[in-house]
């Protein structure tokens, strides 16, 4: 996949989540919207082509990319080495913190205390992979299809704990104030644009543009718009391209 092909075609097909507020949602008109949508639009603008936002789901977003249904993903895809075996990542364009939250009374200061507990996560999400990595023997990780189901499991009492991003945690606090609190941080996740392996030219152009957008404040503006706070420094300052999911050492 080369930028030239996309430009010739006049449309770029970009996969994004629509069930991951505030990054990807459907607005009241039923159109994809959110932080990811705005980033995707900026990228399309840079290519000088029309944007076609294709809704994907957490479990199927990588298959979508690998089977040529879309040109790339701006789908809140956390950069991890596992995923980097299947797709190539750009530099980060957003970041979230993943933590474990749970019922107030529970004393879970760190991952070791999870033994014997049930923790809900969205399947194939960063919380899933990072929790799986740190959870001790005897942790019961329950994987749901999306964050909403995991949250519902927490609220209905089916699980006492879930792994979730800071944005989801904010929503839980709104839904049920003072019932749950954050136990410990799991990971800081940075999200990258993902392309099919081997699409080096395309990746290069995306990286270039992201570097630019971080400098001229465009990315910051939409971050303020959707998340109500400026782009965190660890994203804004990180413009190194990714190799195997890690910053390339210069």
């Amino acid at each position: 996949q080369t930028p030239q092909e996309i430009k010739d075609r006049g449309t770029v097909n970009i996969g994004m989540l629509v069930d991951f507020p505030p990054f990807g949602i459907l607005n009241t008109e039923g159109k994809p919207d959110g932080y990811d949508a705005d980033v995707a639009k900026l990228l399309a603008e840079d290519f000088g082509v029309k944007v076609n936002l294709v809704p994907v789901t957490g479990p199927n977003r990588i298959p979508y990319l690998l089977s040529n249904r879309i040109d790339f993903l701006v789908a809140s895809l956390g950069i991890t080495p596992e995923r980097a075996e299947r797709v190539d990542f750009s530099q980060p364009y957003a970041g979230i913190e993943i933590s474990v939250v749970g019922e107030k009374g529970l004393d879970i200061p760190d991952a070791a205390a999870l033994a014997g507990q049930s923790v809900g996560v969205a399947r194939a999400s960063t919380q899933d992979t990072s929790l799986t990595k740190v959870a001790p023997e005897g942790t019961n990780i329950q994987r749901f299809d999306d964050d909403a189901s995991a949250v519902q499991a927490l609220i209905s009492g089916q699980v006492p704990l879930i792994g979730a991003s800071n944005t989801v945690i904010a929503q839980i606090q709104k839904l049920r104030p003072d019932t749950y609190d954050k136990k410990f941080d799991l990971a800081q996740q940075v999200q990258g644009v993902a392309v099919k392996p081997g699409s080096d030219e395309l990746l290069k152009e995306i990286n270039q543009y992201l570097t630019e957008a971080k400098k001229d404040g465009k990315l910051n503006a939409i971050h303020e718009k959707w998340l109500g706070q400026p782009l965190p420094d660890f994203i804004a300052d990180d413009t190194a391209p990714r190799v195997d999911g890690k910053p390339a050492s210069k």
């Binding site: 629509v18 459907l26 040529n68 999306d146 909403a148």
Partner: protein, 218 residues
């Protein structure tokens, strides 16, 4: 960031009904053609035809529709042939419906009493006339009830098309739920919509079945 469940969300789910309906219609139309072929092949004297038809029925009745959808959508694309979600859903649902309708209709054809075949042989009617004028019209009558019953199954089955990105009713519900966190409102509504679609068909199927069993009881 969470919004209240509002009219626009209601409408979003309501309008997703058309995809449920469209997918069902496509599946039913495709399944009708495929099912007839399968059924005729299955009752034919030719061992190869009936064997192939049996194999087809076994495979597509023996694996989950969910997996069929997935494999058609992503599988065909891997070989470089582009399939749209609609086409993929149409293919997978057609294969699925062909297997089930083929089996239903095979049963109906075989339920036509043997005497009817014999009488039409004795009158010298050929294969096409026999099928067209004698056997299929009677089989059709027998099959109406189970066919309508299967339609209900099919409508509900389209909810699985969400796995390949179709925003039909169930998927619409999931999306709205992610934005509103009111699962019981959202999924309750979705359930009600399905019920409104399916219930009249279920009733029709049952009444047709009654009428048929009364007609044959004499």
């Amino acid at each position: 960031m969470i919004r209240e469940f509002g009219t626009s969300d209601f409408l979003f789910i309501l309008f997703a009904v058309r995809w449920t309906l469209l997918l069902s219609a496509i599946a039913f139309a495709g399944g009708a053609v495929g099912g007839l072929v399968i059924a005729l092949a299955r009752v034919s004297q030719n061992r190869i035809f009936s064997g192939l038809a049996l194999g087809f029925i076994r495979v597509f009745q023996g694996t989950p529709l969910l997996m069929q959808l997935f494999l058609v959508f992503f599988g065909i694309n891997i070989f470089g042939i582009s399939v749209t979600p609609l086409l993929a859903a149409a293919i997978a649902l057609t294969l699925h419906a062909s297997a089930f309708l083929g089996e239903i209709w095979r049963g109906s054809i075989q339920a036509v009493p043997g005497g009817q075949h014999e009488a039409s042989w004795a009158l010298g009617l050929g294969y096409l006339d026999r099928m067209k004028s004698i056997i299929l019209p009677q089989a059709a009558r027998i099959s109406v009830a189970p066919t309508v019953g299967f339609l209900v199954q099919l409508i509900k089955g389209t909810s699985l098309a969400s796995i390949i990105g179709f925003v039909e009713m169930t998927r619409a519900g999931q999306i709205i739920n992610n934005a509103t966190f009111e699962p019981f409102t959202v999924f309750g509504l979705v359930a009600v919509f399905y019920f409104i679609l399916c219930w009249p068909l279920s009733i029709a199927a049952r009444q047709l079945e009654r009428r048929f069993s009364r007609a044959t009881a004499r």
